[in-house]
């Protein structure tokens, strides 16, 4: 990584990939920059947005599996009457941690993985605006996630449900440390999101390649940008709520104690002011992904790009005015309920606009049903089902009937699994060759897709029925006695849902198998072509996987779908467009490489993001167990911040090989 400081030897394009690696420094003085290009250090201390993106993805995938296992235990418990797999207490912990893990430790960081990896590539930048802050976000997230899950070994996980309603979250009702771990863990991952949001917003606003106006940005970047804006403003709200909760639980304040005259609705408001934008934080990245995938496999531009952009932004804004629809059953009063009901119906409009745009993108296109495309189309279908059941919640009287039943569980799983997760999988298959240089198996991918679709519908479809039949969510067992008769028998549909979970699980397992088959040591999978999908956007105008400096030269952008327009020429007349290929993707990339920038300057790796991130869980343990740990954590943080501020901008000249003397390039380097 430290080669970053070295200017690349341009004219010698043939040897571009074999620059001499810098000598790893053996002297880790207090203020040196790490220089390793191989081994774990090259990952742990990296500030390269691509490596950070990959690590985000890997850790999020781990938590996805963990959250999936928790879900499997929940469904096993409910498969038959009088389930005995989990105790009531363990069951409470299981669904709370399942939801928390999936929302905060899988979907959000996985979206962050895509955003981190692809925003700089899609806007033609060499890295994000603040590379070290980017590394900080990653490690804060990782340590926060681990911290949250250590609660399993320290008295049990949180048990209040993912929205942790007060006063149920107070010490008398939840005496273990689970809720403390939950609150502090989310506080920590919140910092990761906030830092990441600031970083990526600045990146999008300020680091675009020449010619790339906002309205020429690839659509994924746009959606990810809206998400970062939502995070920027939503995170501080939950931060307030979590602080109040911490003061309540650890320092004796009574913000949510009814007996002290408090209003528990305060928690609900703060949580959902954050929580509803959070829903869009979860799905908008996937909307962005499929808005990239659909045009590529339809061989048509995205229908109504400005509408997709503005509906995305509109969702972002209106999303702030609908939070109280989560609280219709809490006695808000008729006026509030009416207002929020109308606002909620209004937000269906921009969402509908998107679905129309996607459909019209497909309309008349030359469709290729690759796995990525299947997942994208799957998202449209499944998310629409979730959206429609969502509209039934907007109607307050109907919502009152459905509140806290499995119908709600069905709804949000269609939205989050059908919307967010399918989109992420679409992204995996679409961008895998870009990130790892190899195509995942399409045939296995199709099995993966169909099993996941069948599994999710078997799992979440019946929940509509059992919900409307009155099975409450979060009930740890049901009895045969009250299960009902015939078609609406709860037992039958619960069993179907459980079977569905395992079908879903096998589908996801196939994805992991697919990765293994593609990348195992003696894999026969050939390297992917540079432009396997005939793609349209900027991230493909470079090798796969991209070099650490991303682009051989900073691309000049003149159009939306820049890559497409470099490959194809419009020979149509007037309004009629007819495109003929003038160059292959490989030729476009080769052309860029032949005209590479002479000097490329990249940021050096750093120890300090990881050290600073490590201080946070130390302080968090301190809040729970011992004030001295808070002091220790604060000391580590202070040290890290001084290190951060005072470390040199570059690795030392002696870290470069060949050494400074007599090397023109290196001399220039030493002056940097």
């Amino acid at each position: 990584m430290a080669i970053i400081e070295r200017p690349t030897e341009i004219p010698d394009t043939a040897n571009r990939g074999v620059r001499p690696a810098p000598k790893a420094s053996t002297n880790y003085g207090y203020l040196r920059r790490p220089v390793e290009t191989t081994g774990w250090r090259s990952w742990a201390f990296t500030v390269d947005h691509k490596k950070i993106g990959i690590m985000y993805g890997a850790v999020a995938m781990f938590f996805f599996i963990l959250g999936g296992l928790e879900a499997a235990l929940i469904r096993l418990q409910l498969a038959g009457p009088d389930g005995t797999i989990l105790s009531a207490d363990k069951y409470n912990q299981m669904f709370t941690m399942h939801a928390t893990t999936m929302v905060f430790l899988f979907v959000m960081p996985m979206a962050a993985a895509f955003a981190n990896y692809f925003i700089p590539l899609q806007i033609g930048a060499r890295d994000v605006a603040f590379p070290r802050l980017n590394a900080l976000s990653l490690w804060v997230f990782v340590f926060g996630g681990v911290f949250l899950n250590t609660s399993w070994f320290l008295g049990g996980g949180a048990d209040g449900g993912w929205f942790m309603y007060a006063p149920n979250s107070s010490v008398p009702f939840s005496p273990t440390n689970g809720v403390d771990f939950w609150g502090l863990g989310l506080q920590i991952t919140g910092i990761a999101s906030l830092v990441g949001a600031i970083n990526l917003i600045v990146t999008v606003l300020n680091m675009r390649a020449p010619g790339m106006s906002m309205m020429k940005m690839p659509i994924f970047t746009w959606m990810a940008f809206v998400v970062q804006m939502l995070l920027l403003f939503a995170i501080p709200v939950i931060t307030v709520a979590l602080f109040l909760l911490m003061f309540q639980r650890s320092f004796g304040a009574q913000f949510f104690s009814v007996e002290a005259g408090a209003d528990p609705l305060l928690w609900q408001h703060l949580f959902w002011i954050f929580g509803h934008p959070e829903v869009y934080i979860l799905v908008l990245p996937s909307f962005g992904i499929i808005s990239e995938v659909l045009p590529v496999f339809s061989k048509k531009p995205l229908f109504g790009y400005p509408f997709v952009v503005f509906s995305g932004a509109a969702i972002g804004f209106v999303g702030w005015g609908v939070w109280a629809h989560h609280m219709f059953a809490s006695g808000l009063g008729p006026v509030s309920v009416a207002v929020f009901s109308v606002a909620t119906m209004a937000i269906a409009v921009p969402t509908g606009v998107k679905i129309i745009n996607w459909t019209l993108t497909l309309w008349g296109g030359k469709l290729t049903f690759t796995t990525a495309m299947l997942f994208a189309v799957g998202l449209i279908v499944q998310f629409t089902i979730g959206g429609l059941s969502g509209v039934t919640h907007a109607v307050a009287p109907s919502d009152t009937q459905q509140t806290d039943t499995y119908y709600i569980v069905a709804h949000f799983h269609y939205v989050i699994f059908g919307g967010a997760v399918l989109g992420l999988f679409s992204g995996f298959y679409y961008w895998w060759p870009k990130v790892f240089g190899k195509l995942l198996s399409e045939s296995l991918g199709k099995w993966n897709f169909w099993l996941m679709i069948a599994g999710m519908n078997l799992t979440f479809g019946p929940m509509h029925i059992i919900g409307l039949q009155g099975q409450p969510r979060r009930m740890y067992r049901w009895t045969e006695f009250r299960a009902g008769e015939g078609f609406f028998n709860l037992g039958f549909w619960n069993l179907v849902a459980t079977i569905g979970t395992f079908v879903l699980g096998v589908g996801i397992l196939l994805f992991l198998v697919n990765i293994w088959i593609t990348h195992r040591p003696n894999s026969k999978t050939p390297p992917a072509p540079a432009d396997p999908w005939d793609a349209r956007s900027l991230e493909w105008i470079t090798s796969s996987p991209p070099k650490e400096y991303n682009f051989a030269r900073t691309p000049q952008v003149s159009q939306l779908d820049e890559f497409f327009h470099r490959k194809y020429e419009d020979v149509g007349e007037g309004d009629k467009h007819e495109y003929v290929q003038k160059m292959t993707g490989e030729e476009v990339i080769q052309f860029e490489e032949d005209n590479a920038d002479p000097n490329i300057h990249l940021p050096a790796p750093s120890y300090w993001p990881m050290v600073l991130a490590f201080a946070l869980p130390v302080m968090a343990y301190g809040v729970i167990y011992n004030t001295l740990l808070i002091v220790a954590g604060a000391a580590i943080a202070t040290m890290a911040m001084f290190g951060w501020a005072l470390e040199p901008a570059d690795a030392e000249a002696s870290d470069f090989d060949p050494p400074v003397e007599g090397d023109e390039m290196s001399k220039e380097l030493a002056n940097v």
Binding site: R126, R132, V202, L205, M207, Q254, F255, M641
Partner: protein, 229 residues
């Protein structure tokens, strides 16, 4: 956990204030190789500074943080026992004085920024020092005020009013403290010439943060202190 917020904020602050040479360097990821001029590396799409954008985004985000704390206080301000409410406790002349001190510190801050833009290093440091001093005076006033309230029986957990009051003003106080640390660090960096980037901009960043802390107090002073009177 307030530590995590503190460290977060400090980290942002330190990044922004002290780290200018890295920042210039970070700009460079665009591929600039011109390090000779003052503007080396500042090639951005908007022609604006990354750090300044980040600072304003951070302040926009902080609005939601303080908004939540102020709302909590507004909701709970009447929920206290009969003789330990705002009407009995507030000492308006005293708080007016400390508010005035904080307001004055905003003036000295802005003069520091102005001096920094003129490259008048000596006055920059003097004004920064005065700002830090006034900030310290404000903080001392707040601590004194808290002590008085505590002696009169208003602890953190006494009532919903007291919890939300101490939480709100405490958060503000922590922000002031971080600001003072940034000011002092800034003076040190300027003296030792550790700010290798645009010094004026570094000072301006501290200024933005400091003024934000001031405008939050403008709101707190009116909503919390003056209105219940």
């Amino acid at each position: 956990m307030s530590e995590s917020l503190i460290s977060d904020t400090v980290k942002d602050a330190v990044e922004i204030v002290k780290d200018h040479h890295h920042d210039v360097h970070d700009h460079d990821v665009h591929g600039g190789d011109d390090h000779s001029g003052d503007h080396g590396g500042h090639h951005t799409s908007l022609g604006l500074s990354n750090t300044k954008l980040a600072m304003w985004l951070f302040l926009g985000s902080e609005c939601l943080l303080f908004g939540g704390l102020i709302s909590t206080y507004m909701l709970y301000r009447n929920r206290h026992s009969e003789n330990l409410g705002p009407d009995q406790l507030w000492d308006i002349p005293f708080t007016s004085a400390t508010s005035f001190v904080l307001l004055t510190s905003s003036l000295t801050m802005v003069l520091a920024v102005s001096a920094a833009k003129r490259k008048d290093l000596r006055n920059t440091k003097i004004y920064l020092g005065v700002t830090a001093l006034l900030g310290g005076l404000f903080l001392a006033g707040q601590i004194y005020e808290f002590t008085v309230f505590y002696r009169e029986g208003l602890g953190f957990t006494t009532s919903l009013f007291s919890s939300s009051f101490f939480t709100l003003t405490g958060f503000h106080g922590v922000h002031v403290s971080i600001g003072i640390i940034m000011l002092v660090a800034m003076i040190g960096m300027l003296s030792k010439e550790k700010v290798s980037g645009d010094e004026a901009e570094a000072v301006e960043m501290v200024g933005l943060y400091w003024h934000f802390v001031d405008i939050v107090w403008i709101i707190i002073f009116t909503l919390v202190y003056l209105i219940p009177a």
